[in-house]
Structure formats: C-alpha cells, structure tokens
C-alpha cells in the first residue's frame, strides 16, 4: 500500500532506544542525585519514550493533520487540568 508508514528498521531502532532509555531510568533511580534532578530525569525520559511510541509505533508522524489534532487534544486538556489545579494548590500558602 502506498500510504506512508515507518520502515521495519525504524521500528527496531525505536525499540532499542526505548530499552536504552529504560536502562537509564532504572540505573538513575538507584543513584541519589537529589529529588528534583531525579524527577526531572525520570519524567523527561518518560516523555521522550512517549514521543517515540506516539510518533513511530502509533504512526502519528505519518498521519494527516486532523488525526494529529485529535491525538493532541487529550494532552491539551490534561495540561489544562493540571494547570488550573496547581494554580490553586501551589498558591494557597501565598499571603498578599
């Protein structure tokens, strides 16, 4: 079929990258580098893994615009959910 899709080789490259990222997370999880740096690393890697899976395994990189918009919509609403909740929780201690 002529429609765009990842090559088989690309799938394997993505898989190896995912496993390497997992190994980094797992090893870094055992080293104490301070809570904030550690969280940043762990969730940064999770975001990178997600980007790889969504773009290549889920073929969003090869999809048309409207599918990309629908795929992104959930993330936008999730962002708003966190944004509005934390503008409340993180500012409760403020005194004006």
């Amino acid at each position: 079929m002529p429609s765009a899709r990842p090559q088989r080789r690309t799938l394997f490259i993505v898989y190896v990258s995912l496993i390497v990222l997992l190994a980094i997370t797992a090893v870094a999880g055992r080293i104490s580098v301070g809570s904030n740096i550690h969280d940043l690393l762990a969730f940064g890697i999770s975001a990178a893994k997600t980007a790889l899976i969504v773009a290549i395994f889920m073929e969003v990189h090869y999809d048309k615009g409207v599918v990309r918009v629908f795929a992104g919509a959930g993330i936008v609403w999730l962002f708003l959910l966190f944004l509005f909740t934390f503008t409340d929780y993180l500012t409760r201690a403020w005194r004006f």
């Binding site: 997370t25 809570s35 550690h38 889920m58 999730l78 909740t85 929780y89």
Partner: protein, 215 residues
C-alpha cells in the same frame, strides 16, 4: 482481489484511505478520553505527592522495584511486536501477522502474570490498604497508605486495560486465522495496535511514579 477489496469499503466512504482516516480518528477520539480518564488519577497522585512527599518515598521503597523494571521491559517489547504485526499485514504477510499477534499476547500475559505475583507479594508484606495494611511498619503511615492506595488503584486500572487489550488480541487472532485481514483491509489490527501502545504509554509513566520516588 479487487472485488474482494472493494467489498471492505463501507458505503459511506468514497475511498479506502478515507475509511482508514475515519478509523484512526475514531480510536484517537477514544484515546483522548482515556488520557483524561487516567489523567484524574495522575492529577490526584501529583497533588498528594507534593503534600506528602516523605510518605510517598517510604511507600515506594516497599514496592518490588525489580518486578516493575522487568514488567516495563516486557511491555515495551510487546509494543514492538504489535507494531511489527501491523507492519506485516500492511505487507500482506498473514503468517507473520499471526506470529506477531501471538508474541504480543504472550508478552502481555507475562506482564499480567508478573503483576499478579507482585500483588501477592505486596499482600504478604501487609501493604494492601483497608485489607491488611500495617501502620507500625511505616514512620509516615498515613501518607504511605495514600501512596499505596494510589498504587493499587492506578496499576489495577491499568491491569483492567491490559485484560481488555488481551481480549482484543484474541479476537484479532481468531479473525486472522480465518485470513480476514489483508494489505487492503486491516483496520482492526491498526486500531487495536493504537490501543495497545496507549496502554503501554500509561505504564511508561506509572513506572517512575510508583517505583522510583526518591529523596
């Protein structure tokens, strides 16, 4: 073959690519609602974690880090097999489709099996809130119990999604055995694949959230 192929285009669509785009749009709409479904729990987790960090660190230390790591590896591998299954049927290779569906199922089932073993070990260590949680084992018992409650709620919801995924894979395999999929028609394989990868992504976030909370 062309007659066979045209029969798989539903009457409301002009072309195959239009039908396939509608299929993608449908499953992505569903997955967007799923992001918010899990999002509620993720938000709840984040709020409690910012408030009760010490209890979350303590609770996390009681979990089986090694099982969590192995399970992440198992699930990522199952995602590769799912992607290969879609790739194979796009090439019209039905034998490889069946093989990769079986491998995806096997790794998915392994994940669930390991998860069940882990639940049993958690139970034996008195980590189940409202069932046999032992506050005396913790210095921040109340907040550690909140962490463990979220651990069971989130991994439990994820396990339910895995079970649905395994059922969908079984359905695909039974249809694949009857040679119902081809290069021209394989939307069900693609749609289940997208669902499977989504469930994988949820675990990619659950893994550091639950097993890797450090000081």
């Amino acid at each position: 073959m062309s007659e066979d192929a045209s029969s798989t285009i539903r009457e409301q669509f002009e072309t195959r690519s239009q039908q396939e785009e509608a299929d993608s749009l449908g499953i992505w709409t569903f997955l967007s609602t799923e992001i918010l479904f899990f999002g509620g729990l993720f938000l709840c987790y984040t709020v409690y974690r910012t408030h009760y960090h010490a209890g979350f660190v303590e609770g996390s230390k009681h979990l089986y880090y090694s099982i969590g790591t192995i399970n992440t590896f198992v699930l990522l591998t199952s995602s590769l097999f799912m992607a290969l299954a879609v790739h194979s049927i796009q090439d019209g290779d039905r034998k490889k489709l069946r093989l990769f569906l079986l491998l995806t199922f096997a790794f998915g089932a392994t994940f669930l099996g390991l998860k069940l073993c882990e639940y049993y070990l958690d139970y034996r260590e008195h980590l189940v809130p409202a069932v046999n949680f032992r506050p005396g084992d913790f210095s921040h018992a109340a907040s550690a119990e909140i962490f463990l409650f979220l651990y069971f709620a989130m991994t439990g919801l994820h396990a339910i999604h895995m079970t649905i995924g395994l059922s969908a894979l079984t359905y695909l395999y039974l249809r694949a055995r009857k040679d119902e999929f081809s290069t021209e028609y394989h939307s069900p394989v693609r749609v289940v694949g997208l669902y499977w990868h989504f469930v994988d992504i949820v675990w990619v976030f659950l893994y550091p959230m639950l097993y890797l909370v450090t000081n």
